[in-house]
Amino acid sequence: MTDVKACCAAAYDSDVVELVLGTSYHPGGLALTRRLAQLAELRPGQRLLDVACGQGTSALLLAREHGLIVDGVDLGEESLQRARAAAEQAGLTDRARFSTGDAERLPFDDSTFDAVLSECAFCTLPDKPPAAAAFGRVLRPGGRVAISDVTVAAGALPQNLRDLAGWIACLADARPLEEYARLFTDAGLPVTTTERHDEALARVIEQIDARLRALRMTGALDGLDVPRALELTRQAGGAVAAGHAGYALLVASKP
């Protein structure tokens, strides 16, 4: 089952999917990262772990704006290198470190962090309960889990969304918001706040549409079935509009 996860991480590292999605992509951008930090009541000087940190955009933002000491883990080596370079450039190497790490086997001692952040990544994890448990393990008592993620409606997915899931990895194993909440609660991390931001996903889908069309102008997408990709993107937009897929923030805390 680790296939999907590795595949998704690899997809972010290279190839046409990166072209289409962009490298520092997560729904809601900096605005939603700030909102999540606010809901999780992050304070200056606290230690934060960003799971699936990508190129470190959010980690560096939180180090800079919220005065946090951040660790970022990701499976993509190239992303990590870029994150380190960005930290260097921002003069934040003393407050932002990046290392290879798997969500289920976080390379940190128990009770290390005040908060664990993971944006648009939990949905891609094939084995969610151990990951939730791992988040809880590295948190100190009173610490917070702050998640933003793709959600799907409860019940059976419409056929077109199942087709989509074959193309967009994060939809394949996304869950209803209540189910994410249950996963964390079951891991001993009762949920304190949830907040819907479906418009952020709609915006990303629109960005994918725009990138596909812009890239088509350059001929950079030779080999990709662009009309098919555009059609799937259109369907994804429709799924969000119909409430079948969305995006949400969730904060849980360790007693």
Binding site: A31, E65, Q207, D209, L215, M217, A220
Partner: protein
């Protein structure tokens, strides 16, 4: 039994700003307030002499308020030309209280024109008593601009009609001889339609043409320009394409007159090899213009709504972003990537608010992308120029698009919506951050909207021509009983100079003497 007491009622508007403006009749500085009613933004003021005035300033209150996030801290110019004495807007300029440097400097080379358009904020035409500047004056104006800016981004030659000034090419050379990056020529295109030698001369000098282009309907031409110029505009554009001159179309838009042609103009521009952008300007009700109702005038949000409605496959309202260098409600811009087949607005590729929202972003990303976006979303951006092309490339590379997109980005098509203020809509708060400036022959740098509204244009014309010039009064529905004709086709208060010109409100008097 007692009679029921009268119930208090609420006002029908939300009071959002207290500011200053001018009386559109006598130009006295008066207090003003900005209010929101039915999701529209109005500016209201009262002159002791001439009564109350109200004008629509923004058609969408939500977007007006939201634009405040995009307000960039101003940059201080190297030199100011005047001192603070009486306060804004009578100390122009620029005085040390001005909040922004000049992104775009305008030099009006003459008052004469080979057209007598019914709509002309400069009140130009075939007039025997105007003025035109000398080469020495032009050089002085350029020197003032360079002294203030160091390396000015853009100078625009305008008029009147600058192409009929016999020394216009020398003026352009004088600008080129100075550290000014871009030279723009604002023209009606009549000379460009017939004089290919002149067009080549512009090409050799790397001049960008800013061509008045209001639409395609005969009625549009008739009502805005007084004659059908379609043929000439087409020839001017083809001559520019042949010579390799980059053109930006500038459309004056009036409600109910040509606001149904916006989409057609954009489509035409995207397809024409010479055209790299369109600037839509709601008609400025300064100078000469048709009778209008200030309460239903066209505003930026109306133009954006109309564009989105007329080009639903290409554009949405949120593809336009307010420009941070001036007051963000003055100007909105978007860029379109296009290969002739498809059109993609750049803001759909870049999360622009992550870079240009100066309020939410306590620390802004500083990776070159923001600087590039700031230049693109400014009054100094002119597509086809080397600097703007470089910024477009940087902006797209900053969002992880492959280098091959740079070539497409280089040719991005620019759309600008700019509502200039007039004597009705003038808001001193907004004016204080204006970055489009008139450079005057006596060495002042005056915000464009102050120049057109407050009386500076009349003052400069009078100084330069030696002929008295009365203050121009807007040709509004409400003012009709007061208005008489000026010699130039605009309207003036019946008796010429309306009194008084003195500041009337909150001018330093104490409550108790």
């Amino acid at each position: 039994m007692t009679a029921p007491r009268p119930a208090k009622t609420d006002r029908d508007e939300v009071f959002v700003e207290y500011t200053k403006s001018i009386c559109p009749v006598c130009k006295a500085v008066v207090d003003a307030q900005v209010n929101i009613r039915e999701n529209k933004v109005f500016l209201r003021k009262r002159c002791r002499e001439h009564g109350e005035f109200e004008a629509l300033v923004y058609g969408d209150a939500q977007r007006y308020l939201d634009a405040a996030r995009f307000n960039k801290p101003g940059t201080i110019p190297l030199q100011f030309q005047t001192e603070v004495r009486d306060g804004c807007p009578t100390d122009c300029g620029l005085c040390p209280e001005h909040k922004q440097h000049a992104c775009l400097g305008i030099i009006e080379v003459n008052t004469n024109c080979n057209l007598d358009c019914p709509i002309c904020f400069a009140d130009s035409g075939h007039q025997p008593d105007g003025y035109s500047i000398s080469l020495e004056q032009c050089e002085r104006m350029l020197d003032v601009y360079v002294a203030a800016e160091g390396e000015p981004e853009v100078v625009m030659f305008s008029g009147g009609e600058p192409t009929i000034h016999p020394r216009i090419l020398e003026f352009i050379d004088a600008a080129r001889a100075r550290p000014i990056r871009t030279v723009v020529l604002n023209t009606n295109g009549i000379r460009l339609a017939s004089d290919r030698w002149f067009v080549s001369a512009l090409a050799e000098r790397g001049v960008t043409v800013y061509l008045q282009f209001d639409g395609f309907k005969p009625s549009t031409h008739e009502l805005i320009r007084g004659r059908d110029l379609r043929e000439r505009k087409a020839r001017a554009l083809d001559n520019c394409a042949a010579a390799g001159v980059t053109v930006l179309l500038a459309a004056a838009v009036e409600r109910g007159l040509n606001d149904d042609e916006l989409g057609t103009i954009v489509r035409f521009g995207v397809e024409h090899p010479a055209v790299r952008g369109v600037v839509f300007q709601p008609v400025t009700h300064a100078g000469r213009h048709l009778q209008f109702d200030p309460l239903s005038r066209l505003t930026n949000s109306d133009v954006i709504d109309a564009l989105a409605a007329q080009l639903p496959d290409w554009l949405r309202v949120d593809d336009f972003f307010p420009v941070p260098c001036c007051f963000p409600t003055c100007r909105s811009i978007t860029y379109l990537l296009t290969d002739g087949q498809d059109v993609v607005p750049i803001p759909r590729l870049v999360q622009l608010e992550d870079y240009l929202d100066y309020v939410t972003n306590r620390v802004l990303p500083d990776d070159g992308v923001r600087a590039a976006l700031e230049k693109l979303w400014s009054a100094s951006a002119f597509p086809g120029t080397a600097t703007t092309a470089a910024q477009l490339e940087c902006a797209t590379c900053g969002v992880d698009l492959p280098e091959s997109l740079g070539d497409v980005a280089d040719r991005a098509f620019m759309l600008v919506i700019q509502d200039f203020q007039d004597p009705y809509t003038l808001n001193v708060k907004t004016l204080m951050k204006c970055c489009v400036e008139e450079i005057t022959p006596d060495g002042r740098i005056i915000p464009f909207c102050a120049y057109n509204s407050v009386g500076y244009r009349e003052q400069v014309r009078e100084q330069m021509s030696g002929v008295p010039v009365a203050d121009v009064v807007p040709n509004s529905v409400q003012l009709q009983p007061l208005l008489g004709p000026s010699p130039y086709g605009s309207k003036i208060a019946g008796n010429g100079h309306a009194q008084p010109r003195r500041d009337q409100t909150n001018v330093g008097r104490k409550l108790r003497r």
